[in-house]
Symmetry: C2
Subunit: 231 residues, 2 copies
């Protein structure tokens, strides 16, 4: 129990300092295309470089499937039976799925490709494409996903810790990390300085911050997430 806490503390401090954990899980490529022969061809291509593939005939198939928690990317035909590829991209963003998308199309034009790229697509390949181009795109997308997953997991771990703080401890942490002195925080909250010290100490412990500087960095890393959820 105590050991576990120490281990997680080490992990999170590494995170705050920007270390990358070696996430060497095998990647999974999601292919969404109603053309079965294309799905098969891509599966073969990806298999040849050791990438696992999962195919879906429609956008709905993909959206209703449960996503395994692995690094990966989505290879998407712009033209799907049930949905435009661009809409699909928007939907993914709405439901908070950040898996990078590689778009492909047989009939697209420039504005379509620009739109997709503006909305975060990793690449946009007109059909027919060269195998190598697709592979390059997919590998780049997977790399981007690995980065994203590291950042997201760091953020969520930080957020988890923060939520173990009592409301008062959270308030105190946010105020002291702005640089306010304990007595100023006490004034702001209408409580005594000694109480602030208690909450502050508790926050340090629960967050796993060994120094005040670490607490400041954690608070900074936390703030973007706090804005997303609520105020």
């Amino acid at each position: 129990m105590s050991l576990h806490v120490v281990l997680t503390v080490r992990k999170i401090t590494g995170i705050v300092n920007g270390m990358q954990s070696a996430t060497n899980e095998k990647a999974l490529v999601h292919v969404v295309d109603d053309d079965a022969s294309m799905c098969g061809a891509l599966e073969g291509l990806f298999d040849s470089v050791g990438l696992q593939t999962k195919t879906y005939a429609t956008a709905k198939d993909f959206l209703s499937a449960s996503l395994s928690d692995r690094p990966g990317c989505i290879v998407l035909d712009v033209r799907l039976p049930d949905m435009n590829g661009l809409e699909f991209q928007t939907r993914l963003a709405q439901i908070g799925v950040g898996i990078p998308v590689v778009m492909m199309t047989g009939y697209g034009d420039i504005p379509m490709s620009v739109h997709a790229m503006k909305h975060g697509a990793v690449d946009f390949l007109p059909k027919p494409f060269r195998d190598q181009d697709m592979l390059d795109a997919v590998l780049a997308a997977i790399e981007r996903d690995r980065q994203r997953r590291v950042v997201e997991s760091d953020d969520s771990q930080l957020k988890e810790r923060f939520e173990t703080l009592s409301p008062r401890e959270q308030e105190v942490m946010l105020l002291v990390t702005t640089g306010k002195m304990n007595k100023q925080v006490a004034g702001d909250l209408g409580i005594s300085e000694i109480t602030v010290k208690i909450h502050r100490g508790a926050a340090m412990h629960k967050m796993g911050a060994r120094t005040y500087a670490e607490l400041v960095r954690m608070a900074d890393a936390l703030k973007p997430n706090l804005r997303k959820l609520g105020r």
Copy 2:
């Protein structure tokens, strides 16, 4: 003298906390196209919404011109007499010009547009385009430039201040902002704790940090810049 210091201090702390200075300078659109009639048409279009325009017939013309220090963007034909628009984009990055680019073309294809977008273009418009689309792109590019300029000016101000610190003060600042205690820093540098306090205090003053938390944030904002120049 003393007053000046106080003023700049206010400015930089605002910066660190993410305030945007109201950069309401008038924007300038650089149009690079060898087609004089296109240049004229664009100039008219931009003028109609109060944007100033400067035109260049070739990439070289632009690159040899002196850039005024104003927010703006570049509207660029992919096909230029002396250079490909994509190469031009690369050149801009190489020489450290971060002005956003809006690309336009009469003969482009999807891979070209994707390449441009991957390399940071704000938009890529096939000719003929609707005036409104061009205006939207240019206004978005200018807004992006304003943001970029705020960030860049903050960074450079921080860096300027940092360079007014003596070498020892810089070392001490970087060490204390990792969370090390004064005595630990003293041990690392082989000097006494009291000397560390002196340097630390000088660093706080010269950087304009009112609190230790601000100094930590400044150090964090500074580190990406320090890696660029040297180690």
